[in-house]
């Protein structure tokens, strides 16, 4: 990924309708956003659609980006995820059978993580997540990466949905306490 400072600069240029900057921003971020979307939406066609929507929104809202409160990639991923979640929620939760197999709670060999990608912020978050019970870590991570609803989490993990609900709430509040601010 480009350095954060350059992404910030690009977004600033995009806010001024600099199409070349927009293209560079797209190049620098497209694969990350697409990866996030594909994991949640499963279907490439849907993920492509949301890619378009997201980047159009970035184009129109770049002037609202505030580097003081977000990093560019986090801002854009949040936008893309939010739209993807809208779609999977509002079309109704698919039955488990309809879901991409790739979303199975898998024991595949996890992909290696490039050292350089471990930011301080991520380490802090992981450290706080690590203080949760393993089951709770799991539901938070599955919800984030796979976009699962409480019902889906309950089904897949065979845990009562009310428990999922309680755990999610408690876990998130614990993360807040742990991370401060």
């Amino acid at each position: 990924m480009l350095m954060q400072t350059e992404l910030v600069w690009l977004l600033g240029a995009v806010a001024k309708r600099d199409e070349a900057a927009f293209e560079r921003l797209y190049e620098a971020t497209r694969a990350k956003l697409y990866g996030v979307l594909l994991r949640i939406l499963g279907r490439p066609a849907l993920a492509e659609e949301v890619m378009q929507e997201t980047y159009l929104k970035v184009w129109t809202m770049a002037d609202q980006f505030d580097p003081a409160i977000a990093s560019p990639i986090t801002w854009m991923v949040a936008m893309a995820r939010n739209r993807a979640i809208d779609i999977v929620r509002k079309r109704g939760d698919l039955s488990i059978e309809d879901e991409p197999e790739a979303l199975e709670v898998a024991s595949e060999a996890p992909p290696p993580l490039a050292r350089r990608e471990m930011t301080e912020e991520l380490k802090r978050l992981l450290s706080c997540l690590g203080k949760l019970d393993p089951e709770k870590q799991r539901i938070v991570l599955l919800a984030y990466y796979s976009g699962w609803s409480r019902d889906q989490l309950a089904q897949k993990l065979d845990i009562p949905v009310n428990t999922i609900k309680t755990w999610l709430r408690r876990s998130l509040l614990e993360i807040r306490e742990c991370m401060g601010n």
Binding site: E19, K32, L33, V36, P44, E53, M79, P100, V140, Y144
Partner: protein, 389 residues
């Protein structure tokens, strides 16, 4: 307590685990409550770092072509559309039928990140001190548009290395390992799932229909009632009315704590629907008012504390069609009440009216007009459909 509720709502909104109704509510709150919007931003930042662990996947090249076409010109259509100060669900999406149909080649090229292989890797047992300080900087280099993604390029390399060392890694490593184990290789979704344009096309319209809610908010107009606020006292000065005119799904669940009724009619085509929030101070809603124009029923769900034994909350409709507020009955007596809407209110009136809640003697106003303090009132303001959220 309320702070926790709001925080949890914001967090679950960002995480994506809210039900559709709860998401609607969170989005309505986003539209009118800067405090809530800020909490959501904080959560986006907190949880957003997790994206680092998602492997990048190359989208098909024609995605960019479509985006570029859409923004073509200096004044892209989407930029001059009204909207979009509201970070809420916009109304009907204009997007994707055409786009979906125009995409004959749905199968993306799935590549692993091009320079990942040359980068130092962490094993899962070794998530220790990050960073490859020597990856090539390409910030100034010319961009090869079809070339490898910069996503994998150096990140934060110029930042001082102030790694704290292992103390937090003891905790973060297992989590990272867990996270990674939950992340199957990215090639799979794309490669295993057949390109499914039909499915996408069939799904999308439903999504669009579901999103046809007009998000509306009530401009705060509580100031002129400020004189009354002293009387609120025990009501904790936080009261919000959540008004939804919708065909179904009256069960907006503000705090995520009440059991969520099953909304069986969710699959039916929704009718016109307005969602509005009125609140005096950033806080959790106190009432949810849902108006179903077709069945002409009004449902009130109470979240706030009761008005007390000798007081009642009364809901009023205020419209230019009438010379005085019209009572919609007492609210807050029970957690969940449904009653018919008086026949003389047409749908347009329901849409355009202001709503207010007053504190009245037990049993309601003896005079047919508000006699006690009006805690909240506001005028609906309709937001225009905007860009996708």
């Amino acid at each position: 307590m309320y702070d926790d509720d709001r925080d949890a709502l914001a967090a679950e909104y960002v995480l994506g685990t809210l039900s559709p109704d709860e998401r609607d509510q969170a989005e309505a709150m986003l539209a009118i409550d800067p405090g809530f919007a800020e909490i959501v931003r904080v959560w986006e930042r907190r949880l957003g770092e997790l994206n680092v662990m998602v492997e990048a996947v190359e989208p098909p090249p024609d995605v960019w072509d479509k985006i570029r076409t859409e923004i073509g010109g200096d004044a892209p259509r989407s930029a001059i559309e009204p909207e979009s100060s509201l970070p809420v669900e916009p109304a009907p999406q204009t997007a994707p039928d055409a786009a979906a149909e125009e995409t004959p080649d749905m199968t993306p090229e799935v590549k692993s990140e091009p320079d990942l292989s040359s980068a130092p890797m962490l094993t899962l047992d070794d998530l220790a001190p990050p960073r490859d300080l020597h990856a090539p900087q390409d910030l100034d280099g010319p961009r090869d548009l079809d070339g490898p993604q910069d996503l994998d390029g150096p990140q934060h390399l110029d930042e001082p290395q102030d790694l704290d060392g292992p103390q937090d890694l003891d905790e973060s490593s297992p989590v990272a390992a867990l996270a990674s184990s939950l992340l199957p290789p990215d090639g799979e979704p794309a490669s295993q799932i057949p390109a499914a344009p039909d499915a996408a096309v069939s799904v999308t319209p439903r999504a669009k229909v579901e999103r046809s809610a007009d998000i509306v908010y009530l401009a705060r107009d509580a100031r002129r009632w400020r004189g009354y606020t002293a009387a609120i006292g025990a009501i904790a000065a936080l009261l919000a009315i959540y008004i939804g005119i919708e065909q179904f799904a009256p069960a907006l669940n503000p705090l995520g704590r009440m059991s969520q009724p099953v909304v069986a009619s969710r699959t039916q085509p929704p009718g016109s629907r307005l969602v509005a929030v009125l609140q005096q101070e950033p806080t959790a809603p106190a009432f949810l008012l849902t108006v179903d124009p077709q069945n002409r029923t009004l449902t009130v769900r109470t979240v706030t504390t009761s008005a007390g034994a000798d007081r009642s909350y009364e809901l009023w409709l205020i419209s230019s069609k009438y010379t005085s507020p019209r009572s919609l009955g007492l609210v807050g007596g029970e957690q969940f009440t449904t009653r018919p809407i008086p026949a003389d209110f047409d749908a347009e009136t329901l849409r355009t009216a202001s709503y207010a809640v007053s504190l009245e003697p037990a049993g309601g106003s003896p005079k047919g007009v508000p006699t006690g303090p009006i805690l909240f009132t506001g005028k609906m303001v309709e937001s225009l459909p905007g860009s996708p959220s």
